[in-house]
């Protein structure tokens, strides 16, 4: 199999990952806020649940970024190792 060692592809992947990381916090906060809002509407506890869910979003977003970055880094690293093996073969 012909290895895909085009730097454009690799950098493009990295750029995509970085861009996604940049928006992850916003998405997590927005998601938890909407969830809290919905729960408040459902239980009539406004604004308690929204505040609680926003509080929950703090560790989720930080941990989310950490694990997402690690996962993607592993993927990229794995593909890089695979490429090296392909080249050596």
């Amino acid at each position: 199999m012909k290895p895909n060692n085009n730097p454009l592809t690799t950098y493009g992947l990295v750029a995509g990952v970085v861009g996604q990381v940049g928006c992850l916090i916003l998405l997590v906060i927005l998601g938890t806020m909407l969830l809290g809002w919905g729960m408040d509407e459902f239980f009539g506890t406004r604004p308690t649940m929204m505040f609680v869910m926003l509080l929950v979003s703090v560790p989720i977003s930080i941990a989310g970024i950490f694990f997402y970055t690690r996962y993607k880094a592993k993927q990229l690293h794995g593909s890089a190792v695979q490429k090296e093996e392909d080249i050596s073969e």
């Binding site: 950098y11 493009g12 750029a15 990381v21 604004p47 929204m50 977003s61 930080i62």
Partner: protein
């Protein structure tokens, strides 16, 4: 770390915590005012030698650059002379560690002949964005400022001039997720106080009804007494009846007094109507108890946006005109990254640098990345390359938008989150400050890193694959 919290620092932290609790319990909360564009300073605060009004985000931008220049001056001064073995220590060491770490990091991504320019751009953007982002954590920023009438200038086509009109009617209402626009003129009344005022009005109305009834009875008794007295006088003149008969007659009349229930109800309603009118007047001014009612709540009256009252831009405080003006706090300094002008400028700078380094590396051949007509004649599928090239062109311009909106969205949302949480629940929002601390770093890193990656990408020839294939073939 443990020693950090020993001694006086513990008491300072405890004092700040207790002071926070005290302020939170004693001072009624204010509904935050949210505006996306940077707010203009009042008249007279222009950029020197121009007619351009200073904005509070511009002030923050200037502060960022001043801090950055001071940082550079400090680092340059503390930098050890070549050959010196004395470690500088302190903040310089931390900065050097950060600098070296990032240098290695970028070197791994964009090491090569263009490393220097890529790293310089990355580091500049990183530091500017980082300082700008972290400013939102500083107390007083976004919260201390001019007490400013919330009015705006509007063009009046009839008189062909600009008039200052209130923004009454639309600047205060409940927005998405309960975030309200504020009317700084309205003093905050808690729902409990509002209910107490309603009860007091009800009690006053009942008292008014009772006193009206009492007044009717007394008036009727007085009339009867007058009538009886007149009758009694006439009878005395006739010498035909005694006092007793007159008194009996009077007591019979007392029992038969018909109370006018309509007038009593009117007296009661007068008090209640006054209370309703008072509440309505508050609502007409855009003042609500706590947060403004939503459009879907009962009792919500859509504010009349068509009528604009002409008022001066800066009315004398305490005057009648000033009472018509909604007052808001216009912060002296607002985080620069919450202004699209700043993020867009950085996005354009990043875009220009990407193109610059592309041309520097590949010369005029860099343009074949966008206008790839060369393959059109070589291959029947060359048309695809042309289309891809044009997409690349669009994609490069789209980078400006993605850069600017990513940073703006994150930091603006973070700022709102911080102060909405601060107003919603006192003391507890500290986790959000930690979050925003991380968001500030991550966004700065993302902005800088993406610029570095795109710059490195621009230096890579688009025909790399072809070259590689040729090399393999040989």
């Amino acid at each position: 770390m443990n020693s950090f919290w020993n001694g006086k620092r513990r008491f300072v932290a405890l004092f700040m915590f207790l002071a926070g609790v005290f302020v939170a319990l004693r001072v009624p909360p204010v509904i935050p005012f949210i505006q996306l564009p940077g707010e203009n300073f009042p008249e007279g605060y222009n950029v020197p030698f121009t007619d351009i009004r200073i904005t509070n985000t511009l002030v923050a931008g200037v502060i960022v650059w001043v801090i950055l220049l001071l940082l550079i001056a400090y680092v340059a001064r503390r930098r050890p002379k070549d050959g010196s073995t004395v470690p500088p220590g302190g903040f310089y060491n931390m900065f050097e560690a950060l600098f070296e770490g990032l240098m290695g990091f970028i070197g791994g991504i964009a090491g090569g002949p263009h490393f220097r320019i890529i790293f310089n751009t990355f580091m500049t953007i990183f530091l500017v964005v980082l300082i700008a982002n972290w400013m939102e954590l500083v107390p007083g920023i976004d919260t201390v400022g001019f007490i400013h009438p919330h009015v705006k200038e509007k063009y009046d086509a009839d008189t062909d001039e600009y008039k200052v009109v209130t923004t009454d009617g639309y600047e205060i209402y409940q927005g998405f997720l309960g975030i309200s626009y504020v009317n700084g003129q309205c003093d905050w009344i808690s729902p409990a106080d509002e209910a107490a005022a309603d009860e007091a009005a009800q009690a006053r109305a009942d008292a008014a009804a009772i006193s009206a009834q009492q007044a009717q009875i007394e008036a009727a008794a007085y009339d009867r007494y007058q009538a009886a007295h007149a009758e009694h006088g006439a009878e005395e003149a006739d010498d035909s009846h005694g006092d007793e008969a007159g008194d009996d007659h009077g007591s019979d009349d007392h029992a038969d007094i018909a109370v006018d229930s309509d007038s009593i109800a009117a007296a009661k309603n007068e008090v209640l109507d006054a209370r309703t009118a008072e509440k309505q007047a508050r609502r007409d001014r855009g003042c609500y108890t706590g947060v403004a009612p939503s459009a879907w709540e009962d009792g919500y009256v859509e504010p009349d946006k068509s009528e604009k009252k002409l008022i001066p831009l800066h009315p004398e405080p305490g005057s009648e005109e000033a009472k018509q003006v909604p007052w808001v706090v216009l912060p002296f300094v607002r985080v620069a990254s919450t202004d699209l002008n700043m993020t867009l400028t950085l996005g354009i700078i990043a875009f220009v640098m990407i193109q610059y380094v592309g041309f520097k590396a590949l010369g005029i051949g860099y343009l074949t990345k966008f206008f790839n007509f060369g393959t059109l004649l070589k291959s029947p599928l060359g048309g695809i390359d042309v289309a891809v090239g044009l997409l690349e062109l669009i994609g490069d311009f789209a980078k400006i938008l993605s850069f600017s909106f990513r940073l703006l969205g994150n930091i603006f949302a973070g700022s709102i989150l911080l102060f909405v949480m601060s107003f919603l629940v006192p003391i507890l929002p500290w986790p959000f400050f930690i979050l925003e601390f991380f968001v500030g770093v991550i966004q700065a890193l993302v902005f800088g890193l993406l610029t570095a990656i795109f710059m490195q990408l621009a230096t890579v020839s688009h025909h790399h694959d072809d070259d590689h294939d040729h090399a393999e073939a040989h």
